[in-house]
């Protein structure tokens, strides 16, 4: 079916002039200028689109929970207990050990899932790829490459514990010894 038209027979091959005269021939120059108009329009539209996309990334108002907050008095926290009260609202675990009190981030350092605190096994365990962290936040099993991050903890003037999530302390950079990584109480 398609064969007949695909292979021209010698009889119809010659003489056929390109059928240009029926339509207005487009001059090379005007074609080029149309082309540039088209491209400029295209670039403007895409540029505008991406600008708006970019603008979208910086909203006027951010409905985020505050990055720094007080969580109560040091004595509200028992020694040796992982406090899960602020996990949902603030994204931190508060742990008090004999050395002091620290706030652990609830973001797994592997790919960002939220681990669970398993009381019986005494560890944080991530449900995504099985990373495990000790109470201190040190990673010891699974693929997580580094320990959980700690947030800055200080005391307010009236003696409450103040957590500042904008300041992070990373163990692998040796920051857990810096002031603020742990609150001696």
């Amino acid at each position: 079916m398609t064969d007949a038209s695909a292979t021209p027979t010698p009889s119809e091959a010659p003489a056929q002039e390109p059928q240009q005269d029926s339509a207005e021939p487009i001059e090379r120059k005007s074609f080029l200028s149309w082309l540039s108009v088209g491209w400029i329009a295209f670039a403007a539209a895409t540029g505008g689109f991406f600008t708006m996309m970019g603008r979208f990334m910086f909203p006027n108002v951010l409905f985020e929970p505050p990055q720094s907050f007080t969580i109560g008095f040091p004595d509200d926290f028992q020694i040796g207990v992982v406090d899960e009260r602020f996990k949902d609202s603030r994204g931190i675990w508060v742990v008090r050990s004999y050395d002091g009190l620290y706030a652990l981030s609830t973001v797994c350092t592997h790919l960002g899932c939220t681990p669970n605190w398993l009381i019986t096994d005494n560890k944080f365990k991530c449900p995504c790829h099985g990373s495990g962290f000790r109470k201190s936040g040190i990673n010891f099993e699974g693929p997580a490459p580094r320990p959980l991050e700690r947030y800055k903890v200080t005391l307010t003037e009236d003696g409450q514990v103040f957590v500042d999530k904008s300041v992070k302390f990373q163990y692998e950079k040796g920051q857990w010894d810096l002031p603020g990584a742990i609150l001696k109480v």
Partner: protein, 372 residues
């Protein structure tokens, strides 16, 4: 008796054992060289790719799932709407594998006897694309739509509660087609398993026509004429892609622990998985001097290891076993092929290192988000 079978299956399904079995069996089932082919036929494995072989396989898999559906634990996993596609996957992957191998083996026989292949079609008669082919495609399209509609009505997609960033479901599973990647993430850093390996897969697949210029077997199925290419491809497809998806779907439970199919998914299951970096092994356990503070010195052994793996092995192979290849393929093609093959081997190697030595990372530079 049934319990015994179930326990055996549970035991054999552990990734360390099942992967080993698959890797050992693989060259005998898909012989990449003539030598393996001799064994392949001695062990009567070529019978798999006959009609009886296919039937027996079908019966076995169906029995397995039957056992699963009657088991209180496995049925929970099988009946989950998320997992239904995986049952389809197992059936369809194996069916099409069998079908193509069946046709290939038949053609191999014909070729050996000097006959034309089954796909050979005397060019005088023609089947028209329109209406013959388009019509078949149209009907297939309608049937597929009907099937999808019924499926989506009968097994509605599970809607869960509103997303909450502070709560990851346990186990937190990716969609089924990503479970292979999620399984790789257990062994690798997100950059490697989530970015580098997937890109290599896509680029590698795209590059196949440039690597494999073998004209034989084009337009018809044949195994004997393209043993090595089919072997390599099926290794990537079945072992590196389908196998991890099945493991991720059926065998990963709470806390991403491994569970045999007939085992109960208990949150309380504790598996000790303490992992240690290569640098810890070297500096702390062997040399007993503690980790050097400079990350490059600390990880030097791992870096040397990886560089040697990707740098030396191709050279050694080019001098030794694969002497003929660099000349035949040209240095660039040879280098790229060996690089991709080595990358494909890295996954099982890393898995075994994890299982045997609890090795976490060969190179671990968390300071720079670089871990292998």
């Amino acid at each position: 008796m049934l319990e015994l079978i179930k326990n055996t299956i549970d035991f054999l399904s552990q990734p360390s054992i099942s992967l080993t079995m698959i890797l050992v069996a693989f060259p005998f089932v898909f012989p990449p060289t003539e030598k393996f082919d001799v064994w392949h036929r001695k062990l009567k494995l070529h019978k798999i790719w006959t009609k009886q072989g296919g039937m027996i396989g079908l019966v076995f898999i169906t029995l397995y799932f039957f056992l699963g559906f009657t088991d209180e634990h496995f049925s929970l996993i099988l009946k989950k709407p998320d997992n239904v596609p995986i049952i389809f996957i197992i059936y369809s992957v194996l069916f099409f594998l069998w079908l193509s191998m069946y046709q290939a083996y038949e053609n191999d026989q014909r070729l050996a006897a000097g006959e034309p292949v089954a796909e050979y079609y005397p060019a005088k008669e023609k089947v028209l694309v329109w209406p013959d082919l388009v019509f078949i495609e149209f009907i297939a399209l309608i049937l597929m739509t009907v099937f999808l509609l019924i499926w989506s009505i009968a097994l509605p997609a599970p809607l869960e509660q509103a997303a909450n960033p502070t709560l990851s479901p346990n186990p937190a599973k990716a969609p089924w087609y990503f479970l292979g990647l999620q399984e790789m993430l257990v062994y690798f850093d997100p950059w490697i398993a989530g970015v580098l390996f997937p890109s290599l897969m896509i680029l590698g697949l795209m590059a196949i026509p440039y690597f494999d210029r073998n004209k034989e077997g084009s337009g018809y199925y044949s195994f004997a004429q393209r043993r090595k290419s089919i072997f390599i491809f099926l290794y990537g497809w079945l072992v590196l892609w389908i196998f991890p998806i099945v493991v991720g779907t059926f065998f990963r439970g709470p806390n991403w622990n491994f569970f045999g199919p007939f085992e109960e998914w208990s949150v309380a299951k504790v598996v000790a998985l303490s992992n240690v970096n290569l640098s810890d092994y070297i500096w702390v356990k062997m040399l007993r001097i503690g980790l050097p503070s400079n990350p490059l010195i600390r990880e030097s052994v791992g870096i040397v290891f990886i560089l040697a793996y990707f740098g030396l092995i191709p050279i050694v192979l080019a001098r030794g076993k694969l002497r003929a290849l660099p000349e035949k393929l040209g240095p660039i093609r040879y280098g790229l092929i060996v690089f991709l093959a080595l990358a494909m081997m890295l996954l099982p190697i890393k898995m075994y290192l994890r299982w045997t030595l609890n090795l976490k990372y060969i190179i671990a530079i968390p300071e720079a988000f670089f871990n292998i």
